[in-house]
Subunit: 370 residues, 2 copies
């Protein structure tokens, strides 16, 4: 194999495929990137047996062939080379060579025949969505994916088409995030749970532009396709939560409040409780003021935020971290917070937007603590 | 105690004094900041028993007094408050209160009488230097301070006045950094070794401007004084190296080379050897080319850099990290590298500048390795 390519393009391709390189593995081949010459250029592939990524590099192929090279060292050398043409080739003895101006690196390579094949995806349903929208949908739901491996289905996000919208949902037993996006295309039977890890990596690869990405689903896999990049991931098996039934429709109290003021107040008060999970904060809602209170071994604190409040007064306890997580992914200036009773979930949503809904369970507060 | 102050000023004072707050200590009082009202405002003090810092805050004193408050939590709360007036006061029960708009934080405080006193400094010698110059002098020497606690004198930098210049010197057994600065002021007997840790903290506090800082030395202490800030540090006892005798004056080979090209080449080749300390790099100097070569278990590499070379050809081995450290703190575009034999130290210095000199010992290279 022998190819000539531009440094910047090569570095960007490596950066993408490295997202699916195993860092902790007993199989050294999984720490490598497969580089193969193909008809349209050079294909770079990584595979950690959960996710695999293929990325095409435009390059001049002088001699066809394939090689597997250890990903981390290869990437670091390339990133540090000057911004000019790079020649990559393999020697007969299996050594992989990087040449660029005065620099010559000769690295041990691995056998490309041992690199795990990416299974073929027999597409059943397929949708297409803009990259920046998918990126936003992931950002607004990924944070409330469960980390409890005993219920693996909740370690992913549900992605479904329903009533002319694409919905992405995550739930971890304490809160639920739902992001809706109007959609009028094909793929009406799409209903799949994608591992959080996959979505995290896809999030990093997605560009903040309105180019399309297609999402296709097969029996056990999902396929994400962009220009030059193809990602295949396993999907999670099992029954997801009937989330629609879980979100309260009634409300007794509606609060309209400035999102940034509320977020700052929660972030400050969280400083006092973050090391001591047993200390929730108490919210007191009355007289158009939200009062947040907490009490921990190092002291106590009170935050008062003006708000427009409709409905009766209420006192309700929460884990402040769960408020912070949700308020951070909301871009709008104002949010609504709806409550019914101090035992029922609260619902947060941006004012003038129906796309994001967040539900959070209250915690019981012991009076002596607050 | 009760004071009113501006958030930004308070945050900046806390940021400075926190540099001498103990993070790992069995004495909880050392994790605190002493806040005292004084004639000219409010004095903040920290003391980790090696370094102590005093910083004056301009504030409106409503009621005089003193309090010690845990530094980390105090600083984090203040930083997250809105940019407006903050009221600090202590309650009769020893609780320390932070008040700002709708926010009220009540923290456990400690007894100010238990806070360790800062010893008075009986100044013997004193010099004055611009802050940006001292900052640069520290940057160019601190990296080669020894980490070997068995020879404590080399865990600091020598600061001396000699032949109308201020010299700062560090040496760790493998390399030596010397930074000279022309000086025609007072303090001709100054000769002191300041702990690396102290210089690291002072480096962070120093502004990049040409305001003066005075450095005074007493029997066991050094005192650094800026506007509103006073730092007292212990000094290291013992005989420093006669560094002048250690720097070779003769040279057989002089190389003039672009600093950035050389640095990039070393940084790339270091990728192959950094995990395996036993692998040095070999420099081959001939035909106006510096060739750097290395060989490790993962492969081998060669870097060629054009240079102007006067003198005979030479092959010499080095730890590449020691070249990188020195080249990184040189601002000039071109450097000289001088050698005599492959067993004698190399000397690096910027072209057209006599202020910085770096000496580096070679390592023996085993031929089979390169």
């Amino acid at each position: 194999m022998k190819i000539v390519c531009e440094k910047e393009k090569l570095a960007s391709v490596i950066n993408i495929v490295q997202k699916a390189v195993s860092s902790k593995t007993t199989l050294p081949i999984l720490e490598g990137i497969l580089i193969e010459t193909v008809e349209s250029g050079v294909k770079f592939t990584s595979n950690d047996l959960e996710i695999s990524i293929e990325c095409l590099l435009q390059a001049e192929v002088k001699e066809s062939g394939a090689v597997v090279v250890e990903s981390r060292m290869f990437g670091e050398i390339i990133r540090r080379l000057p911004d000019t043409d790079i020649i990559l080739y393999s020697e007969d003895n299996g050594v992989f060579v990087i040449e660029c101006e005065g620099s010559l690196y000769r690295l041990v390579s691995l056998n490309p025949d041992e690199f795990p094949k990416i299974p073929e995806v027999k597409v059943q349903e397929s949708i297409s969505i803009k990259q920046n929208i998918l990126k936003e949908m992931i950002r607004q739901t990924i944070f409330s994916v469960s980390v409890d491996e005993n219920r693996p289905i909740f370690t992913g996000c549900l992605l479904e088409i329903k009533e002319e919208s694409i919905n992405m949902v995550s739930v971890d037993g304490f809160r639920l995030s739902l992001r809706r996006q109007r959609y009028e295309g094909e793929g009406n039977n799409l209903n799949v749970v994608i591992p959080g890890k996959t979505l995290n990596e896809i999030f990093k690869i997605l560009q903040n532009n309105n180019e399309e990405i297609s999402i296709s689903v097969a029996k056990n896999q999902a396929l994400f396709k962009m220009k030059d990049v193809k990602i295949v991931s396993r999907i999670l098996e099992g029954e997801f939560l009937n989330y629609k039934a879980a979100i309260p429709v009634e409300k007794e109290i509606r609060i309209k409040v400035n999102k940034d003021f509320l977020l700052s107040a929660f972030e400050r008060i969280y400083l006092l409780t973050r090391d001591e999970k047993k200390y929730p904060v108490k919210l007191k809602i009355e007289n158009n003021v939200i009062t947040i209170m907490c009490n921990s071994t190092i002291g106590n604190a009170k935050e008062e935020i003006s708000a427009e409040i409709e409905g009766k007064d209420i006192e309700i306890g929460f884990n402040p971290k769960y408020f912070i997580d949700a308020l951070k992914v909301i871009e709008k200036e104002q949010v609504y917070i709806d409550f019914t009773t101090s035992m029922a979930p609260g619902v947060i949503r941006p004012v003038e937007e129906e796309e994001f809904i967040y539900m959070i369970l209250p915690v019981r507060i012991r009076e002596e603590n607050i």
